[in-house]
Symmetry: C2
Subunit: 422 residues, 2 copies
Amino acid sequence: MVPPAITPSYARELALQSRSAATSLACLNAARKNAWLKRLAADLRTAAASIESANDMDLQAAQAAGLSSAMLDRLKLNRERVESLAKAVEAVVTLPDPVGEVIAGERRPNGLQVNRVRVPLGVVLFIYESRPNVTIDAATLCVKSGNAVILRGGSESIRTNLVLGDLIAGSLRAEGLPEHAVQLVRSTDRAIVGDLLSMGKLIDVAIPRGGRSLIERVTREATMPVIKHFDGICHVYLDASADVRMSTDIVINSKCQRPGVCNAAETLLMHRDAAADFWPALARTLQDLGVQLRCCPESLAAISGGVAASDQDFHTEHLDLILNVRVVDSLDQAISHIRTFGSAHTDAIVTNCLAAAARFEAEVDSAAVVINASTRFNDGGELGLGAEIGISTDRFHARGPCGLREMTSYKYIIRGSGQVRG
Amino acid sequence: MVPPAITPSYARELALQSRSAATSLACLNAARKNAWLKRLAADLRTAAASIESANDMDLQAAQAAGLSSAMLDRLKLNRERVESLAKAVEAVVTLPDPVGEVIAGERRPNGLQVNRVRVPLGVVLFIYESRPNVTIDAATLCVKSGNAVILRGGSESIRTNLVLGDLIAGSLRAEGLPEHAVQLVRSTDRAIVGDLLSMGKLIDVAIPRGGRSLIERVTREATMPVIKHFDGICHVYLDASADVRMSTDIVINSKCQRPGVCNAAETLLMHRDAAADFWPALARTLQDLGVQLRCCPESLAAISGGVAASDQDFHTEHLDLILNVRVVDSLDQAISHIRTFGSAHTDAIVTNCLAAAARFEAEVDSAAVVINASTRFNDGGELGLGAEIGISTDRFHARGPCGLREMTSYKYIIRGSGQVRG
């Protein structure tokens, strides 16, 4: 596979084409966008074999390069996964079009009708690693929300992405949508990312999804706003009044149900009274599930088989079956720990005390504050947003899961009958 | 006046103190914030004489430095203006507290109650020029919306600002609010702006308000998100069906009511039919009001006393009694002109044609699209937002006037009864 010749103007051309596509996309009805989504789903099914064979080449190259089996699994896009992907595309058809929604409207005393109406953000630069299904997810979410998107996937999935990119382009043409609505960067040259990040006048937002170094690079170089998808150092705090059974269920689910994702718990905080009641039994259950426990001195002394936690552990997103454990004196100490060590992503309390729940809600400043449920619920699908393009750890523009609405801005429509200002 | 010693740690100390104040402010009830606002209004009235005398010194220095009379007028803060300022502070008392507002709430199928609740942005860095009343406006809007703010005013108003800063600090202490809720940079050293802009981990947003070079510097150096308040190259388009009287009123008001502000019109576009009907009479009216007309060949030929417009004129925010004029063939050409030359700030159409109004609304992508009213209405007070901290020309996070709500983010509160993810 020979990559296309990348000149300094390649990125600029991409950005200009996207800009122009964005203008048309902004005025497109949902019916047209949905027709494209349906065709794309059908085309994915038809092309399943060629997607799988391109993906096989990516997998072979990745295996030769020594990628871990977890990474290989993320990279894999076989027939079953293509079918799931087609179903995910069809699910976006059912989501309401955010564009044109009147967010607020008011008749002013002078008779002006002032409406705030949702509009697309414009051109999105989406930079991601590994999983090639994200190529399709991002394309569908951006177009459904009226945005043009430039997709820059990981080098390890370039062969799969080129096939998917051609499929998307073909379906756009077939449905008469702007052909540059979705553009794949057809090269793995890293310089092009820098070129694109310098184009703040043409590109409205950059969304990086991947490891820390990718996100830091994008944040440093971007001349446009960035929606970051950063660390999830998530906590579960068991209050003095926490129910044993509920605590056990929530801790296990938060830690073990899918340990490699950002909304999995990394740290268990327990009020001393809760710890006295049920920490040894909870610890055994966790250890039976293969969880390594990194404990504060007090929690370590009460069990066997734990290891001592370092300060660094409490700052770490393990993304693995490792749980930091700390006994605290009070709700205050729990909140203070979360403020110091957390990443403002997702933090949960298990409690039966109304006052404790209210204080936790008010004082823990995280994208998702969870009362008596698993941290795993901070997810677009679970929170009712439908599909999501990522979970923002920023507090500017969008926070938490970013669905279709989070991919929009708004404008004021002011309708009068000749009003002038006095 | 000896400025305080500025060490590299000065900016960091300011930012850390603001960060800590922001944590307390986020949980403060509106009653407490309103009590402070009332005291500040009273303190402003009490201190009117000392404010005026500090302002006199600023005015003398500015006069000696040769500032224009328009600049001197902007700088001036006499007793009458202090009284207006106190009234503006009292007006903020009446605005609803945005913090804690439930923006959306839903019961999920599994029984989770998912609410999206408004929270402050955190720490705001506000950098502005000239008008010292902005010091009070920004302080009151930030604190009412639960944000801590670092204020960096212009060097020409430093003496006035130091008095206002002391007044604010005293009123915060007297009401028991965090004393670092509002911090004034007590130096005119420009290096400190760079230091503050580098602190993206401590400061949540930078808001520059002033000339182009200030905004460009902030955009370039900021490591946190920026809400820009950039050019207003605003248009009024007179459609073929435009009413003569309404057109005249709206053009005059948009251009002349306050030509030095961002939502004043810079360019008049006229459909050929409208121009034929009433351009010569409208031109005379505008000229009688002292407006210089910079015209396309067609509009120039129809009047006397106009001058030929250059391409550059159509790209220029004159902020003066100068109006660019162009005759167009169609609505399409008007929209295309606005896309090419406009700054997506405020654009108006005068029309009696429903189809033209609908297309203008949909296809003109400006913060405010105005139908049959003056461009001057794109303003927080006029649109019902109450006071505003600026008019954003960005499309990310906030667009158009930024009132209290635009100074907030949100978090998800997820309330369950033991739910775990399957």
